[in-house]
C-alpha cells in the first residue's frame, strides 16, 4: 500500500511513490485538483496519511509530525504573512515561533533576500514580488533543511519569478532540498526532477528531459500567411493544435501525422515554414495528462 489520503469517500492522493534526494529541487506538477496541495500538507504533517508511509528528513509523517514541522519551511500559496505587520515584525514572529535565538542569522536572511530597505514597511503595502521574497525569508529564518513552496510564483511578475528561482537553486546548491508545486511549465523546467500528478495519481516522474522524452511527442511548428484561417482549419483536424503567437503548434505522437497532411489541410494558404521541433514542457505535460485520462477511462 503506497501513500494515499482519503477524505470520506474521496481519494485525493492515491498510491504515490517517489524519492527526493538531498539538495534536489523537486517539482510537483499537475492540473488543479491533482492532489498537490493535499500531498504537501501530508508531507508537512498537517494531515495523517490514510495509507502507506512517507518519511521526511528521516521522520515518519504519521508519527513525527512536530519534528518535521520544526525542520521544514513551508510557504503557502497565500504567502502566510501578516499583512498588517511589517517585514521585520513578521520575521521576528516566525523566528520566535521556531525558537530561533540567533538574531544575527535573521539579519543575514533579511539581507540576502534584499529586504533591508523595506524592513519597516507593512507587508500589505509591498508589491507582490517583495511580499513573496519576505515570505521566503520568513520560511528560511529557522534554517530548514527542506523548503516546501506551494505555487510560490502565482501572481508574481516574470522578473521577480526569475529571482525567486535563482534563490531556490542557490539554496539547493547549499544543500536545502526544495519541494515546489507549480502549474507554470517554464518553471517546471527549472526543477531537477518532476513528479506529474493527475487525479491524485503519479502519472510520470523524472527529469524535465525525461518527461519530454516520455511524452513521445514531436511538434510541428507552422508559420503561415493568414494564421487565423489556418489555425481554424488545423484545429478542426487536430484538436491539440495551439497558437504560439502567430505560429501554430501541433503536438504529434510518434510522427503519426504526415507533413503532406498538414500542407493539404492548408491548401490555398501560403505556408512560410513547417519545421519539426522537440516539444516544450507544456506540450509534454498536456500529452501525459491526456494519456493518463485515457488509461484511467480504459481501466474503468
Amino acid at each position: 500500500m503506497e501513500l494515499s489520503k482519503r477524505f470520506g469517500d474521496v481519494t485525493v492522493v492515491d498510491d504515490l511513490t517517489f524519492d527526493v534526494a538531498e539538495g534536489e529541487v523537486f517539482g510537483l506538477i499537475g492540473p488543479n485538483g491533482a492532489g498537490k496541495t493535499t500531498l504537501i500538507r501530508m508531507l508537512c504533517g498537517l494531515f495523517t496519511p490514510s495509507g502507506g508511509r512517507a518519511t521526511v528528513l528521516g521522520f515518519d509523517v504519521a508519527h513525527d509530525q512536530r519534528r518535521i514541522r520544526e525542520r521544514v519551511g513551508y510557504m503557502s500559496q497565500g504567502f502566510g504573512l501578516y499583512g498588517d505587520l511589517s517585514v521585520d515584525e513578521n520575521l521576528r514572529f516566525y523566528a520566535d515561533v521556531y525558537g530561533v535565538r540567533d538574531s544575527a542569522y535573521v539579519d543575514a536572511v533579511r539581507a540576502r533576500l534584499g529586504l533591508v530597505e523595506v524592513r519597516h514597511l507593512v507587508v500589505d503595502d509591498l508589491p507582490t514580488g517583495v511580499r513573496q521574497r519576505s515570505a521566503l525569508a520568513a520560511v528560511l529564518v529557522h534554517q530548514p533543511q527542506l523548503i516546501v513552496l506551494d505555487e510560490p510564483t502565482s501572481g508574481v511578475d516574470p522578473v521577480a519569478r526569475d529571482g525567486m528561482w535563482r534563490l531556490v537553486r542557490e539554496l539547493a546548491r547549499e544543500g536545502v532540498t526544495a519541494l515546489v508545486t507549480t502549474h507554470v511549465m517554464p518553471e517546471a523546467a527549472q526543477c531537477d526532477r518532476l513528479a506529474l500528478l493527475a487525479g491524485g495519481r503519479l502519472v510520470a516522474a523524472g527529469t524535465p528531459e525525461d518527461l519530454i522524452d516520455r511524452s513521445q511527442l514531436t511538434v510541428a511548428e507552422i508559420s503561415v500567411s493568414s494564421w487565423k484561417e489556418a489555425f481554424a482549419r488545423l484545429q478542426m483536424r487536430w484538436p491539440s493544435a495551439a497558437l504560439h503567437g502567430t505560429r501554430i503548434h501541433i503536438p504529434v505522437a510518434d510522427h503519426s501525422i504526415d507533413e503532406r497532411d498538414i500542407r493539404h489541410t492548408l491548401e490555398g494558404l501560403e505556408v512560410r515554414s513547417l519545421i519539426w521541433q522537440s516539444p516544450t514542457m507544456e506540450d509534454a505535460f498536456i500529452a501525459l495528462v491526456d494519456a493518463n485520462e485515457l488509461a484511467v477511462e480504459h481501466q474503468e
Partner: protein
C-alpha cells in the same frame, strides 16, 4: 512510500559557522511553549494597535452603550401625562405632582367618555375620576405602554384606595432613589465583557483563517492548544481593560456606588471572561469570515442580554424558557456585579455564582478545544 531526504543524523553535521545563511544541520532545541505564547501574544497586540476598526469596537461601542444605559434608558418614568375627570381637586393634583411622577393638565375632562377619547389619542396616559367631594373614585390607565402603566398603577392604587389612611412605610434598600444608572451600569459591565470577549476572539481567529496565516501557523511547531491560548491571553487582557474602563466611567460619570471591593469583582470576572472568550472560539469554528463571525456572535449575545436578568428581571421570564437562562454566563455574572457594586457583597455571599461560572469556563474551554482542534485538521 514517499521519501524526502534522509535524517539529519545520518549526515555529518556542518561545522562551518562563517556560512551564515547556509542550511542548518545542527538543530537547536526549539524554544518552549512560553516563547511561542509570547510571540503569539505580542503579534496580537501589534495587530490590535494597527486595526482601528477593532479598537473602535472595543472602546467606542462600550462607551456608547454606557451613555445609552446611563442617560438614555430610564426604568422609572417621570412626567406621565394625567388629567382629572369630572371635578377639579387640589388634593388629587398635589398628590399626583408630588414626585414629578405625573404631569397633570390644567383643564379637566368633563366626562368619562371625553377622558377615554384623550387616552385613545395619546393626549394623556392616565385619567383620574374625581367625585364631588374632591376625592378620587376610579382611575383609567392606558395599558398600550405596559411600562408606563406599571409605573402609574403602583402609585395610583395607594392614592385611590386609601385617601387619608396611614400609608405603609416602605424602605428601599441598596438603591434608595431607584436610579436607573445604579441598576444598569453593573449589568452593563457584564454585557460589555461578553460582547468584547466573544466578538474580538472570534474575529481574531477568523481573520487568520481569511488571511491564510492559520494554515501557515499549522505548519509551524505551534500546537493547537498554544494557538488557542495565544488568542485567549491577549483578548482576556483587552476584555478586563474594558471592564475597568466601564466601571471607572460608571463610578465617575454616573456616581454609581461601589460598596464592595472592585478588585474582588475583577477576580470574579476572570472565570466569566474565560467562558465568554471560549464562546468566541466556538463561534470562530463555525464562521468562515469576519462578517459571519459578527453575525453569529450577535445571534448568541442578544438572547443572553434579554434572558439573563441583566435588563429584565429573571422572574419575568416564563418557565418554559427559564432553563435557557440557567445556561447563560451573564445570568450568573449579573448578580455578582450588582452584588459587589450595590450591596458590597464578597466571596462569602457570591461563591455559588462564582462556582457556576468557573464550571462554565472549564466546560466551554474544553468544548472550544475539541472543536478548535477538529476544525483545524
Amino acid at each position: 512510500m514517499v521519501t524526502l531526504p534522509d535524517a539529519p543524523d545520518s549526515k555529518s553535521p556542518a561545522t562551518s559557522s562563517d556560512e551564515a545563511t547556509g542550511p542548518g544541520r545542527v538543530w537547536r532545541a526549539t524554544g518552549g511553549t512560553g516563547r511561542r505564547l509570547r510571540a503569539l501574544t505580542r503579534k496580537e497586540f501589534v495587530q490590535l494597535r494597527r486595526d482601528r476598526r477593532t479598537v473602535l469596537l472595543m472602546i467606542g461601542m462600550p462607551l456608547v452603550l454606557l451613555l445609552i444605559f446611563g442617560y438614555g434608558i430610564r426604568l422609572s418614568v417621570n412626567g406621565i401625562g394625567a388629567e382629572l375627570v369630572g371635578h377639579d381637586s387640589s388634593f388629587v393634583r398635589q398628590a399626583l405632582t408630588q414626585h414629578d411622577r405625573f404631569k397633570v393638565t390644567s383643564g379637566i375632562a368633563p366626562t368619562e367618555s371625553a377622558a377615554r377619547d384623550d387616552l385613545l389619542h395619546g393626549r394623556v396616559s392616565v385619567a383620574v375620576m374625581v367625585g364631588p367631594s374632591g376625592l378620587p373614585t376610579s382611575v383609567l390607565v392606558d395599558g398600550s405602554d405596559a411600562f408606563v402603566a406599571q409605573n402609574s398603577l403602583e402609585y395610583l392604587r395607594s392614592l385611590v384606595a386609601s385617601p387619608g389612611a396611614n400609608p405603609v412605610r416602605t424602605n428601599v434598600l441598596y438603591n434608595p432613589t431607584l436610579r436607573s444608572a445604579d441598576f444598569m451600569v453593573p449589568a452593563e459591565v457584564g454585557m460589555i465583557m461578553l460582547w468584547v470577549g466573544t466578538v474580538a476572539t472570534a474575529i481574531g481567529v477568523v481573520r487568520e483563517r481569511e488571511q491564510g496565516t492559520l494554515e501557515q501557523l499549522m505548519m509551524t511547531p505551534i500546537r493547537k492548544i498554544e494557538l488557542m491560548i495565544g488568542k485567549i491571553l491577549p483578548y482576556s487582557v483587552l476584555t478586563l481593560l474594558d471592564a475597568v474602563l466601564i466601571t471607572t466611567l460608571g463610578l465617575w460619570l454616573f456616581r454609581v456606588p461601589m460598596r464592595g471591593n472592585p478588585f474582588e469583582l475583577l477576580l470574579f470576572a476572570v472565570p466569566y471572561l474565560i467562558a465568554a472568550l471560549s464562546i468566541g472560539l466556538l463561534v470562530s469554528t463555525v464562521a468562515q469570515n469576519q462578517r459571519q463571525a459578527m453575525q453569529t456572535a450577535a445571534f448568541i449575545l442578544l438572547p443572553q442580554v434579554l434572558l439573563s436578568g441583566a435588563m429584565f428581571p429573571l422572574a419575568a421570564i416564563p418557565w418554559g424558557i427559564r432553563w435557557v437562562s440557567q445556561l447563560l454566563p451573564l445570568t450568573y455574572f449579573t448578580p455578582i456585579s450588582r452584588g459587589v457594586f450595590l450591596k458590597g457583597l464578597g466571596f462569602a455571599d457570591l461563591w455559588p455564582q462564582v462556582a457556576v461560572l468557573s464550571a462554565m469556563a472549564v466546560i466551554f474551554t474544553g468544548l472550544a478545544a475539541i472543536f478548535f482542534k477538529s476544525r483545524l485538521d
